[in-house]
């Protein structure tokens, strides 16, 4: 349900904001010109005295101190629009306006104001306060990465701003330097992060990633283990470290160790679709077909609808095939085709990404796109709060901030989706091809198996089959309790030593 809503929202957002800039440019321009004109006229109509202008700041600050941010913000905004940046309280007004926005649930507007403020390097206190808030936003909310990280943090050098902020600045500046190939400068920044802090472990995680990039897997593994030695690290980072470690161990063929790492991931089970699939692979590679299938059953839960990838079907059919459940294996292949029939239709008729909800939902799972998407959702949510403000000019100002950001983010996500859509569409077609191949191999296996069966002693086959049947631990009941999803065991007796209906055909 949530996914459907998500798709509908995405669809309308992308449709409504497509060409927003172009379609509305003229209107916006006119509106803007009108505003400028109206303001000018107002100023002409009524010239305010210095004290009256200062009064806006004083009043705003008074309201701010009383935590009445909704009323304080228009005062600061008015003050700022009537003064220039070199005015004594301009920077403070700007800062208080940003804080008021944040306190009013407009994090993006706050970021917009405060980022711009720190870029101008006001007094150190304001810089510190602003950076503190920006740091908080980066840890807790979706945000405009370019504004905070690129412009406010990475484009500047700051003096002493306190240990916590130093860590924050050093981490992102170091990360930026590494990402742009400036490893020595990056190392200098990372060296400035105080060990044991949140950003220190974040840096270690980044370092592990870098080691993977350099193909130094063992180094990456030891770093990740070091991160996980600390029981108090941020749970998100811990989960990521477990997941990454699991993947590296899997790649090294340590499937059981990989599985143990996956098990320690704490995030809600419904957000673990990809991990469950990876766990299933790990189990499968260890020869634990029943456990693997148990994990895959988790995906059958309605909660996972739209989360799983085509790989789910492929693995499931491979497992069935391996244990000679050929009918079921074929059913899974058919299930795959049924599930993605509409998606494949859209691909074959060269439909647009937006016409293909199945793929779109998969694309949204991609980190960068997901981040952007969550940010768009945040903008949509925060935009509704603009109406809390009564001041027309401030509302127009905020509307403009949100409209522009929405347009920029939608353009970005559209670009990313179009770029990724082709990859996912190709992946789906590849899986379709694989499904056909599996269907073919199933046929081949059935034939070979039958042929072997007819040349094997019946008695020994019977015994094997019985033995394997006894290994079944727990029969899946067809229930979906989210906390149990990854714990299912299913009955998957190996049937390679017994006949099935189709054998008659080959006899």
């Amino acid at each position: 349900m949530k996914n459907n809503l998500c798709y509908i929202f995405l669809f309308f957002v992308l449709i409504c904001f497509t060409g927003y800039g172009e379609a509305n440019t003229d209107t916006d321009k006119e509106d803007m010109q009108d505003n400028v004109q109206v303001n000018a006229e107002k100023n002409v109509e009524k010239k305010l005295t210095e004290s009256e202008i200062q009064e806006y700041f004083s009043k705003g600050y008074e309201l701010f101190e009383k935590e009445n941010y909704i009323d304080a913000a228009p005062k600061f905004y008015k003050y700022m629009s009537l003064t220039s940046p070199d005015e004594t309280n301009y920077e403070w007004a700007s800062f208080f306006l940003g804080i008021s926005f944040k306190k009013s649930g407009l994090s993006h507007a706050a970021v917009e104001i405060l980022s711009h403020l720190v870029i101008r390097k006001p007094n150190p206190k304001i810089v510190s306060y602003s950076l503190e808030l920006l740091e908080l936003v980066t840890r807790t909310l979706p945000f405009d990465h370019d504004l905070i990280i690129n412009q406010a943090v990475c484009d500047r050098q700051y003096g002493f701003v306190g240990e916590k902020l130093e860590n924050f600045l050093n981490y992102y500046q170091g990360e930026y330097d590494w990402e742009h190939g400036f490893f020595e400068w990056g190392n200098n920044h990372f060296a400035g992060i105080v060990p044991g802090t949140y950003y220190y472990y974040k840096y270690l995680f980044k370092k592990a990633l870098y080691q993977v990039y350099r193909d130094r897997i063992d180094d990456a593994i030891s770093i990740l283990k070091k991160i996980l030695e600390n029981p108090d690290i941020d749970y998100g980072l811990r989960d990521n470290a477990h997941a990454m470690l699991a993947r590296l161990l899997y790649e090294k063929g340590e499937f059981n160790n990989a599985y143990l790492q996956y098990e320690q991931i704490k995030k809600p089970i419904l957000e673990q679709a990809e991990y469950i699939l990876e766990r299933a692979w790990a189990e499968y590679r260890q020869g634990h077909t029943e456990k693997a299938m148990g994990l895959l059953y988790a995906f059958s839960a309605p909660s996972f609808e739209n989360y799983f990838t085509p790989e789910y079907f492929i693995l499931k059919s491979i497992i069935y095939k391996d244990v000679c459940h050929y009918k079921r294996a074929m059913n899974v292949v058919n299930e795959f085709k049924d599930h993605y029939r509409d998606a494949l239709d859209v691909i074959y008729r060269r439909g647009a990404a937006l016409e293909n909800p199945a793929i779109l939902m998969l694309v949204l799972g991609k980190n960068k796109i997901n981040e952007t998407w969550r940010f768009i959702e945040l903008l949509g949510k925060e935009k509704t709060r603009i109406s809390l403000f009564q001041d027309k000019e401030l509302v127009e100002y905020l509307d403009k901030i949100y409209a522009m950001q929405m347009q920029e983010s939608v353009e970005a996500i559209r670009f990313l989706i179009e770029k990724e859509y082709e990859k996912y569409a190709d992946m789906l077609l590849t899986f379709e091809e694989e499904a056909d191949l599996i269907a073919y191999e199933i046929g081949l296996d059935m034939y070979e198996r039958t042929s072997q069966y007819h040349y094997t002693e019946k008695n020994s086959l019977g015994k094997n089959s019985e033995k394997l049947q006894k290994q079944v631990v727990y029969n899946f009941q067809g229930e979906y309790w989210n906390d149990e999803l990854a714990q299912y065991s299913v009955s998957l007796p190996e049937k390679c030593s017994s006949t099935e209906e189709w054998d008659i055909f080959f006899k």
């Binding site: 004594t88 711009h116 074959y348 949510k381 709060r385 522009m404």
Partner: protein, 1145 residues
């Protein structure tokens, strides 16, 4: 739509807002500020400071007074001087603050006076305390104050004093530095340089890095950039963080940063040959952070720009654009890059440059902090920059016909089109983009772009429409080229290109049907369907294509692809149907039609193969399919193949009925279209295996008939004739023989055998003339021995038919040519000679018998008869000499007859009337004696005949008459055959409807060595009355039995014997029964049958012996089926008689 969005947004807004940490506003250290109040507070603070300094001065003075002659007195003076300096500073700021403006000279009076007081104190120290260990410090401070007061000469003097008199002082390098600065400011660069160089001798001094920096500038002023930059490098690398000079001038100066920045100034001059990339590496090496690197690169780029080193500047600005996010800076960089590119006309990095421009504009577009009018102006300006770059790039690519150039242009166009959506030349740029993509061989993207453009163009027949035709065709062509090189495409790209080609192709054909490109397009659209596996559509499209353009060069490929599509669908019937259409289409080239014919034939085989496979898995279903297929295609090769398959598979499945039906149809319908050899071979093979000899003979003959030149046909005909003979079908046999004669080589050994067989068969049929003709006509082919045999037969036949002269002629030939030794060479010769001789003699014996005396003795008659007797006797003797039992016995009997006759003749001779009774009595006695001699002789022959007949166990009706006559003086002229006339049934192929027969034949067909089935079949045929078939079967079974003592062999011999009985060949029957009993003396059937035969032919003792050895009647009853009907009658009659006798007793 918007209302739904509104709803969703409202829904989402109801969700809890994630808030940042709950910072209280109170924690922000903001304090309200009032300017006047602030100033007031500042003045008060300065006033307080001044008061404190005054107090300190007073206290110090007091202390000085109290410390006369104390060791530390100079220290107190030094402190006092410093307090004056401090007070001078406070006074200065107080004056300045109170005035609210810059300080005038009048306001500086107090301040300067205080400085002078300080100078005096310093001088006092120097004068009064020569041993003071901080004199260098005093001198340094003194120099500083002189400089503050503008007394530069005094200043220089103090610094020089330090250098001269306090060489070990830490103030020496700083003094050199400040002197250097003095000379530097005086433009005395040599002096400045010398002083700065002195500083360098004090590497531990903080002044060194400054000296280097200043020294570098000296070199710059002397245009020696290489030396300068080396010094800057040293300055950057030698600065020790935290170690600062105690010089006001440099206190706030970051000399490291200054050095680095100034390196940018002289880099271009110092390293004239270095590339921009080397420059970047150089500054990256010296910079200690990215912001510093950015700062220095900005200087460097600017320097290059000023120096018109456009390429270098462009590269640096590009690097800066990667590092910076500030929109204003990005716009500046973009503008500078454009300027550089325009100057150099180097568009290698056009894509990057356009993306830099767009990056700047995009940031501007979404910035809330940039005024809209400025945005708009920038947008217009930069759009022109971008367009200019792209146009140049495109033109250059065109001029050079460079694919790489087109690729760059295409990338640039893409960036442009993605951003400048409101561009006044957007449509033109879109078309250019499509063209560059095509020229860059990026066909998939080109296809997409052309398709997009075409979709927007109207369909009406206008001038623009013409360009639509071009664009649409370009789209088709682009997709076509995309798919030509599929290896580099992923699945999605392939799917997309296929869809694109189909859509645009169909659209093109629909919109421009008269275009000369339509055939190509149609072909390719069809091909794409084929390529993506939509075979039905491909078939429809290609078929349509072939119909419309049968003579086009693509028609051949189209036809082949249709056939291939059918093949891939495994729709072989469709393939065949389509192939037939093509074969019949005269508009299509003959070579192609021939190719199609071959493919169709192969497909037909496939169809058949498929049905055959089905048949092997599910015979009834598959059989029906094959039969239907054969019927539906009865006029084509497919029908023939279907029947062939049916034939082979029915053989495999053991379905004789189907096999025969298929074989017959095949031979009937397709004897001309294909070689029937295989079919017949199968039929013959099956007939042999199934032991169906009536069927076999027909197929052997058919084989010989249809394949006269086949190497096997001679053998087959010969075997057929033999089988026909076995069946008593002599006319058919002779027909076969006749054919065979025509095909044999003239010198073939077989000829003789065949000729005699034919003549024999003709005789059996009662066609003596035919037999004679056969023998005479073919005489020339016979060997000398065979000729004798032939003459003997011919002679005999002529004789039988009353053509005595001819008979005589051939008889003479035979006699003349015959030699006794020939019998060793050919056992058949003697019986023939014997028969010929016997019949000739026999005929004469009739005459002999007719010679009778009438009422008187006629010596001539007697003499004639006597002579004839002699002749006959001689003749019979001759017959006997041939040692053929068949003829020796009647010859013997004939001798008996003629002697007996002669005796009778003598006895019955009338008495001569002229004789007296006595004479008559005497005469009678003489005659009787004479006659008795003949009787005795006759009896001797009769006895011999009788004995030989029994010895030989004669069971020949003809001979039996003789010896029975001899034995019983019976008057019977003929003896019928034992069984009498028996009609033999002919169970032919139709009898396969009989389930028992069919099953047994089928079993045999699968396992020809199945003796039990063979035996059962033998019995069944006998039961059905087809004795001849039964006999042949029994013979075949006997051949298969390896253990000749097997009781089954005895039974089979018995069966053969019964068949012989029914065929009237009692002699052969006797032999078979005897053979049966030799193998199994207890074989009831053989015993009873032989006993019956013996009984019938008068071999009573032998019969009795057999009867007496029989078990109980009940046991005999059980073997009923093995007993011939007549034999049964004999047996049961005897049983009854015995019962009667037993009762009588």
């Amino acid at each position: 739509m918007k209302s739904i969005l509104f709803f969703i947004i409202i829904f989402l807004s109801a969700l809890p807002v994630v808030s940042a940490s709950e910072d209280s506003s109170g924690r922000y250290e903001y304090q309200k500020k009032d300017k006047a109040e602030e100033q007031k507070k500042y003045i008060a603070r300065l006033t307080e400071d001044k008061r404190k300094v005054n107090l300190a001065i007073q206290n110090t003075k007091v202390l000085i007074d109290k410390s006369r002659n104390k060791r530390y007195l100079p220290q107190l003076y030094l402190r006092l001087a410093e307090l004056h300096i401090e007070k001078s500073r406070i006074v200065y700021f107080l004056r300045k603050t109170e005035a609210g403006r810059s300080v005038k000279s009048l306001d500086q009076m107090e301040s300067n006076a205080l400085k002078k007081q300080a100078i005096e104190i310093y001088q006092r120290i120097l004068e009064n305390y020569p041993a003071f260990d901080e004199r260098d410090k005093v001198l340094f401070f003194l120099a500083h104050e002189y400089r503050e007061l503008g007394q530069i000469d005094e200043m220089i003097k103090q610094y020089k004093t330090i250098i001269k008199k306090h060489k070990e002082s830490s103030y020496v390098p700083e003094s050199y530095l400040l002197l250097g600065d003095y000379f530097f400011n005086m433009q005395d660069l040599d002096m400045a340089q010398r002083h700065y160089e002195e500083v360098l001798k004090y590497p531990e001094s903080a002044a060194v890095s400054i000296a280097r920096y200043k020294l570098a500038w000296c070199h710059i002023n002397n245009a020696d950039f290489e030396k300068a930059i080396k010094l800057f490098e040293g300055s950057v690398t030698s600065v020790v963080p935290g170690r600062k000079t105690d010089i006001d001038t440099y206190r706030k100066v970051d000399i490291r940063l200054e050095s680095l920045v100034d390196m940018a100034y002289c880099y271009g001059e110092a390293y004239k040959e270095s590339t921009p990339q080397e420059a970047l590496a150089y500054f990256q090496k010296y910079a200690w952070s990215r912001p510093v690197y950015t700062i220095v690169l900005e200087k460097l780029a600017h320097r290059y720009l000023i120096k018109k080193k456009w390429h270098h500047a462009a590269v640096i600005y590009r690097e800066l654009s990667e590092l910076q996010h500030d929109v204003e800076k990005l716009l500046e960089y973009a503008r500078n890059i454009f300027e550089c590119v325009r100057e150099t006309e180097n568009f290698e990095d056009a894509g990057k440059d356009i993306s830099i421009i767009i990056k700047a504009l995009r940031k501007q577009k979404y910035s809330i902090h940039i005024p809209d009018d400025e945005k708009e102006k920038n947008l217009i300006d930069y759009e022109l920059y971008a367009r200019d770059i792209i146009t140049h790039l495109h033109n250059k690519a065109r001029d050079l016909k460079s694919v790489a150039g087109f690729k760059r242009a295409a990338d640039a166009y893409k960036l442009y089109l993605d951003f400048f959506k409101a561009s006044p030349v957007y449509a033109d740029m879109e078309l250019n983009y499509a063209e560059t993509l095509f020229s860059a061989k990026r066909y998939l993207e080109a296809g997409k772009q052309y398709e997009k453009l075409a979709a927007r163009m109207p369909d009406q027949d206008t001038k623009e429409n013409k360009s639509k035709e071009k664009i649409l065709y370009s789209a088709v062509l682009s997709y076509y080229y995309t798919l030509k090189n599929k290896d580099n495409l992923n699945y999605y790209q392939i799917v997309y290109a296929r869809g694109g080609l189909k859509t645009t192709g169909k659209s093109f054909v629909a919109s421009f049907p008269s275009s000369d490109k339509v055939p190509d397009v149609r072909f390719n659209v069809a091909w794409i369907n084929y390529d993506e596996g939509n075979y039905d559509e491909a078939i429809a499209e290609f078929s349509g294509f072939v119909e419309n353009y049968p003579k086009s060069k693509e028609a051949k490929a189209a036809v082949h692809l249709v056939l291939d599509a059918f093949y891939l669908k495994e729709d072989f019937e469709g393939l065949i149907a389509y192939g037939q259409k093509i074969i019949q289409n005269k508009e299509i080239k003959k070579t192609l039609r021939n190719e199609v014919q071959e493919i169709v034939s192969a497909a037909e085989s496939k169809v058949i193969y498929s049905h055959t496979l089905t048949a092997l898995n599910d015979w009834e279903k598959g059989k029906k399919e094959l039969i239907d297929l054969a019927e539906e295609n009865s006029s084509s090769a497919l029908g023939e193949q279907a029947l062939n398959a049916l034939l082979v598979s029915s053989k495999e499945m053991g379905d004789l009925e189907t096999l025969l039906s298929a074989g017959s149809k095949l031979l009937a319908k397709y004897s001309k279209s294909s070689s029937p050899e295989d079919t017949l071979a199968v039929m013959i093979d099956v007939s042999i295996k199934a032991a169906q000899f009536r069927m076999l003979v027909e197929y052997l003959e058919k084989f010989a008939d249809m394949l006269p030149d086949n190497a096997n046909s001679v053998d087959f005909l010969y075997q057929a004739a033999h089988i026909r003979e076995s069946f008593g079908q002599y006319a058919y046999a002779n027909r076969d023989y006749k054919l065979l004669l025509g095909r044999l080589k003239k010198n073939s050994d077989m000829r003789g055998k065949i000729i005699f067989a034919m003549s024999k068969n003709a005789i059996s049929l009662g066609n003596d003339d035919v037999a004679i003709a056969i023998l005479l006509d073919n005489r020339k082919y016979l060997s000398s021995l065979e000729k004798i045999k032939a003459d003997a037969i011919v002679a005999d036949l002529y004789l039988q038919n009353g053509r005595l002269k001819k008979a005589l002629k051939y008889r003479k030939r035979a006699y003349t040519a015959y030699k006794p030794g020939f019998a060793g060479k050919d056992s058949a010769i003697n019986p023939l000679m014997a028969r010929m001789a016997y019949n000739a003699v026999k005929r004469l014996s009739k005459k002999y018998m007719e010679i009778q005396l009438q009422n008187k003795i006629d010596n001539k008659v007697v003499a004639r008869k006597a002579k004839l007797l002699e002749k006959l006797e001689k003749g019979y003797h001759e017959v006997i000499q041939y040692k053929s039992p068949k003829w020796a016995l009647p010859a013997c009997y004939g001798t008996y007859e003629i002697n007996n006759e002669f005796a009778r003749f003598l006895k019955s001779a009338p008495l001569p009337k002229e004789l007296t009774p006595e004479q008559q009595e005497q005469y009678i006695q003489i005659i009787n004696r004479k006659a008795q001699g003949y009787v005795a002789k006759a009896e001797q022959y009769q006895q011999t005949c009788f004995e030989q007949a029994h010895k030989l166990e004669i069971c020949d009706p003809e001979l039996a008459v003789l010896f029975n006559k001899a034995a019983n003086n019976s008057s019977a002229e003929r003896y019928s055959a034992y069984a009498g006339p028996v009609a033999s049934a002919e169970v032919r192929t139709s009898s396969f409807k009989d389930e028992d027969l069919r099953n047994l034949h089928s079993k045999l067909m699968k396992n020809p060595a199945d003796l039990e089935s063979m035996y059962a079949l033998t019995m069944l045929y006998m039961e059905k009355g087809d004795f001849r078939q039964s006999s042949l079967m029994a013979q075949k079974t006997l051949d298969e039995i390896k253990d000749k003592s097997d009781p089954m062999a005895a039974s089979l011999h018995n069966i053969i014997g019964v068949a012989y009985l029914n065929a009237g060949d009692d002699t052969s029957a006797r032999d078979e029964f005897k053979q049966a009993l030799e193998i199994d003396s207890e074989n009831i059937g053989a015993k009873i049958n032989l006993a019956g035969l013996y009984d019938y032919y008068g071999h009573a003792e032998k019969a009795e012996k057999l009867y007496s050895s029989l078990p109980d009647a009940a046991v005999v009853d059980a073997a009923k089926e093995l007993i011939h009907k007549r034999s049964g009658e004999f047996y049961y009659a005897r049983v009854k008689e015995n019962e009667k006798e037993n009762k009588a007793i």
